[in-house]
Symmetry: C2
Subunit: 147 residues, 2 copies
DNA sequence: CTTTAATGTAACCAATATAGTTACATTAAA
DNA sequence: TTTAATGTAACTATATTGGTTACATTAAAG
């Protein structure tokens, strides 16, 4: 299972974009319903990946790329797998005296890498801009009369 | 990250197929290099999903479907997400007073479901039969002279 | 019938990941 | 100088994973 850091990070970026960067970690935390330190921890990961920039003592979070150029894949890579890069865990230290134990990792590499690639390509097809557009669209529809 | 139960389960099925079902959990554990109880725990999940059948006191594991009809997706679903079914964790209990907090889960559902679907479809393209064929192929190539 | 050996499963344990929480140093604006 | 925000560390609770031991159940072999 992929942790909720990912969707929280999308939440952060949506708020940053909608408010033109004028948001604090306290404000974001109130929307996410968690602790400001949790938000700042995820912000740190987004900063290290070059998606946002912020400064101590200064209100405001600056997107480092156009919102239309930030995809779900960028966010996923920023907050999940910051070092490992692999979606699937392949068991190691198998018995090389056995043919299956000797070859299983290599035999699985191609199909598992391809599965990960397909998932990542799907994430790459959606920008944060379109997620925000969907949020605004849903909000406007609900804000209208219920007739 | 997806746990190694998945690749261990593939390992189990490969050994079952290659040995025509005449394998014990001790034998499999020696190839995987783990404890027999770990193997039996995963076997239990494969049984509950209808992929294999076995019986106390009896050596032998019976595939319940043709090996060519068992895909990596079948195995993945059997040993991962036995109840939840969702690859991504979406944070809940967000602040509905905020537009983003109110709509974020719905806005993410389509792209995340699609990403999961793409990954699963990729897994569905590879059968255990083809994994075993790859193992045999690699084994035969290496077994030959190194010339 | 008895012995043997295998599966099915429960009960722990250690290690790790996740998310929440508190605290505080650093920084810059008012 | 005061205020307030970020950056980060430390600690905790919880859940997951994988390893381990133990044992009841079962069936085959002798």
């Amino acid at each position: 299972m992929i942790s909720s850091r990912f969707t929280v990070a999308v939440h952060i970026l949506a708020l940053v974009h909608i408010n033109n960067g004028n948001v604090t970690s306290d404000y974001i935390a109130a929307s996410v319903n968690t602790n400001p330190a949790v938000i700042r921890r995820i912000m740190s990961m987004l900063s290290k990946s070059g998606l946002i920039a912020s400064h101590p003592g200064v209100i405001g979070i600056n997107l480092q790329k156009p919102i239309s150029a930030i995809t779900l894949l960028d966010v996923y890579r920023a907050v999940e797998l910051p070092e490992t890069k692999e979606l699937f865990t392949v068991h190691q230290n198998t018995n090389v005296q056995c043919m299956v134990g000797k070859e299983i990792q290599q035999a699985l590499e191609t199909p598992l890498t391809e599965a990960q690639r397909q998932m990542e390509q799907a994430l790459a097809h959606t920008s944060i801009e379109s997620v925000v557009a969907d949020i605004l669209h849903r909000h406007n529809n609900e804000a209208g009369s219920p007739s």
